[in-house]
C-alpha cells in the first residue's frame, strides 16, 4: 500500500514530501513504489469536483473495488495476466501482476455520495463532486 496526501495544504509539508521522494530514490520503501506503484494515478481538481484517474490497463472492472471512507479513497483489486504457455520463454517481464491497493486522502469539502466511476481504455476515472457550499459563489450587490 502506498500512502500519500495528494492534496498538500502547506508548502512545508510539500517540501518534506519532495525530500522524502528524493531520499526514496536511494533507499526505496520496502513496499517499492518509488513512482507510486500500480495503478499509476493522476489527480485533478476543478471548483466543482475532484477527478482521479487510475491507469489500470487490462483489469476486469468487476475486479476493482473503489471505496470512500472517512475522506479516504481506496482503489483495490487484482490483475491477472494470461498464463505462460508450455515450453514458452518469458524474455521481458515488466507488467504488474497480482493484487493492488492505492489510497488517496480526499479534501474535506467533497460529497462522497456523489462519486461516480467509469472504466475506459484501461483508465478508471473517479469523479467526486464538492459540496454545494464549497463552490465559490459571487454575491451580487443590489
Amino acid at each position: 500500500m502506498y500512502y500519500r496526501n495528494l492534496f498538500p495544504r502547506d508548502i512545508f509539508a510539500e517540501m518534506e514530501r519532495l525530500q522524502r521522494d528524493m531520499q526514496q530514490a536511494y533507499d526505496p520503501s520496502i513496499r517499492g513504489g518509488l513512482r507510486g506503484g500500480f495503478p499509476a494515478m493522476n489527480v485533478g481538481s476543478t471548483p466543482k469536483s475532484v477527478e482521479i484517474y487510475a491507469f489500470a490497463p487490462g483489469v476486469d472492472p468487476a475486479a476493482i473495488d473503489v471505496q470512500i471512507e472517512k475522506g479516504v479513497l481506496t482503489v483495490a483489486g487484482e490483475r491477472t495476466l494470461p498464463a505462460l504457455p508450455e515450453k514458452a520463454t518469458l524474455h521481458i517481464n515488466e507488467r504488474f501482476t497480482g493484487r493492488f491497493r492505492r489510497v488517496v486522502t480526499l479534501p474535506d469539502d467533497i460529497d462522497p455520495n456523489s462519486a461516480s466511476a467509469k472504466y475506459r481504455d484501461g483508465v478508471l476515472h473517479i469523479s467526486i463532486a464538492r459540496k454545494e457550499t464549497a463552490v465559490p459563489r459571487r454575491i451580487s450587490i443590489q
Partner: protein, 124 residues
C-alpha cells in the same frame, strides 16, 4: 502543474514519451508482446515495422472536465513510445495486433523459411 511539465518536455524533446511496461513471451512458433498503454484510445495507437525495428506509439487521451487543474500526475507525458529491434527469423508481414482495455497484444510469428517450401512454376 503537469501542463507546464508537458510543455517543457515537449519543447525540449518533441518525441518524448512514457515507457510502457511490456512482457515478451517466446514459444516455438513466434513471439507475443504485451504492452500496457492505459489511456490510449484505439485510433490513437500507432504500430510501425520498418526493416527490423518495431515502434509502438500511443497518444494518451481521456475525458477531462473543463478547467481541470492537475494536482498530481504520475502519467506526466501525453504519449507512450517504445522501440524494439526484431530478429531476422520473425515474419513482420504476418504481425497480428489486438488492443483491448489499454493492453496491446502483438503476435509476431517466426518465418517459415526453415521449412520446406513448394515453389510454384508459372507457365506464361
Amino acid at each position: 502543474m503537469s501542463n507546464n511539465v508537458e510543455k517543457t518536455a515537449d519543447s525540449v524533446r518533441p518525441d518524448a514519451g512514457l515507457f510502457p511496461p511490456v512482457n515478451v513471451v517466446e514459444d516455438a512458433n513466434g513471439i507475443t508482446l504485451f504492452a500496457d498503454l492505459a489511456g490510449v484510445p484505439k485510433d490513437k495507437l500507432g504500430l510501425q515495422v520498418e526493416a527490423d525495428t518495431l515502434t509502438i506509439e500511443g497518444e494518451v487521451s481521456f475525458a477531462m472536465p473543463e478547467g481541470m487543474e492537475s494536482i498530481h500526475a504520475e502519467v506526466s507525458l501525453p504519449r507512450y513510445r517504445r522501440v524494439f529491434t526484431l530478429s531476422k527469423e520473425l515474419d513482420t508481414e504476418k504481425v497480428a495486433a489486438e488492443f483491448v482495455n489499454g493492453v496491446l497484444t502483438l503476435r509476431i510469428p517466426k518465418a517459415a523459411h526453415a521449412q520446406p517450401r513448394k515453389i510454384e512454376i508459372r507457365v506464361d
